[in-house]
């Protein structure tokens, strides 16, 4: 599959890219592995990070938290989280103006078994278009 979010596409498609975005609610049940609870994905971003390095964001000044990798078969993938999603909230906690470490901490609270994420995803249409290129 050649779908790579953030990868520049031809100009024609670019216009459609910028307009649509889906908001998804994703509920992930943490998986216990040993003495750790894992979610099965990786995040990048934060207000203390350089937003220009974010390959997933439309706006290169967006300092939000993005999903950079989803472990295959992990709880996040099962719940429907996808690489490139921007995490807006975690269990009601805001994630749009947090440092990287704060974001990580909010996801890895030991007393929470379930995290409910509100994520924004670039539209399905665009994703399909991507995958056909």
């Amino acid at each position: 599959m050649s779908f790579i979010p953030g990868q520049p596409v031809t100009a024609v498609v670019l216009h459609f890219q910028l307009s649509c975005a889906l908001q998804q609610r994703i509920e992930i049940c943490k998986l216990r592995q040993g003495e750790h609870l894992i979610l099965g994905f990786s995040i990048g971003g934060g207000i203390d990070q350089d937003p220009g390095q974010n390959p997933f964001s439309e706006d290169k000044s967006d300092k939000g938290i993005y999903v950079t990798r989803v472990t295959p078969g992990g709880p996040a993938e099962v719940a429907g989280l996808m690489m490139g999603d921007k995490v807006m909230q975690v269990n009601g906690w805001d994630m749009t103006m947090v440092t990287h470490d704060q974001a990580r901490k909010r996801l890895t609270k030991k007393n929470e078994d379930i995290v409910r994420l509100l994520v924004t995803r670039k539209s399905l249409e665009q994703a399909v278009r991507h995958s056909m290129m």
């Binding site: 990868q7 894992i38 934060g46 203390d48 990798r69 103006m97 440092t99 704060q102 996801l107």
Partner: protein
Amino acid sequence: MPMDRYADMEDKLRILEDLNMMYIRQIALSLQDSDIQKKIDHEIRMRDGACKLLAACSQRDQALEAAKSLLTCNTRIMAYMSELQRMKEAQVMQRVARRSDGTRSSDAGPMDDRLPCKSKVAISDLRIPLMWKDTEYFKNKGELHRCAVFCLLQVGGEIHDTDMVMVDRTLTDICFDNTIVFSEASPGFELRVELYSCCSEEDYSAGSAPRKLASKLSSSLGRSAGKKLRVAMDPGACSPTSHGGAATLLLPGPAVAGPKYHLLAHTSLSLSHVQDSFRTHDLSISGNEECSYWVPLYGSACCRLAAQPHCMTQQMMSGCLKVKQLGGDPQSWTNVYGVLKGTNLFCYHRQEDMEANVEPAFTIAINKETRIRASEKDPHSKAQSICISNQYGGEEVTHTLSADSREETHRWMEAFWQQFYDMSQWKQCCDDLMKIELPSPRKPAIVTSKQGSLYHEIVIDTSDDISTVTDILTRQMQELELRSQLGTSPPWMSLFEESPGGPRTPRLARHSPRSPHRLPHSPLSSLRCPWPGLLSSDASLTSDSDSPCSTSPCSRHRGWAEPLSLSSPRFRHRGWAEPLSLSSPRFRPRTLSLDAKLSTLRGRGYGGVLQCSCQPPSSSSLAPIPAQCVPQATLSCSSSTSSNSSSEGSHSPSSLDGTPFSRPSSARRSLMNLRAKLDPRNWLQSQV
């Protein structure tokens, strides 16, 4: 001579102070307001105590705390004084107006105006993100530059301060755990949040203060100098200039030698910022990098500002009523005891039910959508009845209320109007009751281990299942294949190619060319070793030992003289979980993150592992790794750890594979492209 002048000036200050106090007392007396007078006296006593403590204490922490109390007391005194001023002025204005009019105009008017109810306002979880420069994280200057910060929160006359927090460059945010509750706030309240900071390394010897004082006092104590003096001596005082001409008169307390807090940032919150969740607000920052008390703020503050208007928490009206639902039997009046609270009118069968906390018989909603009107429709009684209409779903439901007497009905109507007015004033606070958690009794502060930076405390939640590591390594090797296609390979690869025997440097032993092709799977099962490198260099290790690496592998295998100390480095490696996604043809430093992962899993027993990895190999046959390996400050283990490390220790476990690399497919290439962008050196990522 300067000292004489200084003493002179001090005397003058004291006299002015005493005059001040007399003036204030006079005002209070004339206003016959003993309440504020008592508060002022109390604060002055507190201030004296803080001054004495400051003069007496020797420890820096104590001094900082005392200085904080002093600042708070001073601010409170200023607030009370200005309150008194205002009251006095208002009284005078009233008297003047009365005298000129000849009528008692002050009595009329306000009766018609409705006053909104007051509210409890709580601010909690105040968090101020910091933005240190990359270089700050990794400077190894020894002593951390620390600042003591705290927040002063003010609503009207109520001033509260948060606990003091020590800030140094290992902190990413300043978090104040206190919940501060202000009890009587009006809808137009302004919550002023001020962040004060003080460098905690100054020398507060008494010697320096008088000099400063003398130089400042050398200019005459006129209005402008007085203002300057005030600012210099007590920068925390909120603008007394707003009180008009009497500003200079209200001097703050005596100057004390000791730590001085300076205003670093401030912001004002009001009703529009109240919300049941966290919000970010902008901070106005005063001061710049040159100031000693500077802390690099990101520029915003996050907090939860909640309000509980009294109309939502208290019973606004209660009494006996007769209720009938419209459309029902005209005779079906129900006798209830109604309680108006919040957005509901609770109807209990009996008053005792309400006191016993029994569920109400039914509840009528009173909210923004409700329409209430008085009607005379009921022919059976002369009293007016009140009709309450609500929309439930698509249906409109109307209840008719009737009270015992006309006065009662009037009172109920009055209560409903007041409720509507309050709801219109408090807007979003009246949609739902916001929770305010009362501050719990003080818990002892959790002492964070002074092991160093925040990064030490990062626990990377991953399994310690070796198979996960295996997966990662396999992928890693695939990546390496891709990378080689681009034509470059790390210089140390040449070592393998040239001399298969290979110099058995401690580092390279891990990548022993003896088994260049072997995939990591096999050694893992036998070894159960946390070190990724060790996993692959099966031959070397298994030949050396048979026991699993339950002890620190470094000491066993590497024979490094330096003891493994857990105390340093201050900077351990951040928990990247994109550890093995190879980047562009640049060198990828050793999987610091994987090391960190695995070592934290073992409960830091392998803290030494990390250090070892950064140590230079004892033999210098290792080709010097070019500086590319340490491109960003986010990374460099070497720069922060041993200053004697010459090489950057940038082996990646992928180096185990010395075979010629296969061509990547196009899919892999695009994937590789993405992986290139996800280089953790440029952009931090964490696995959760």
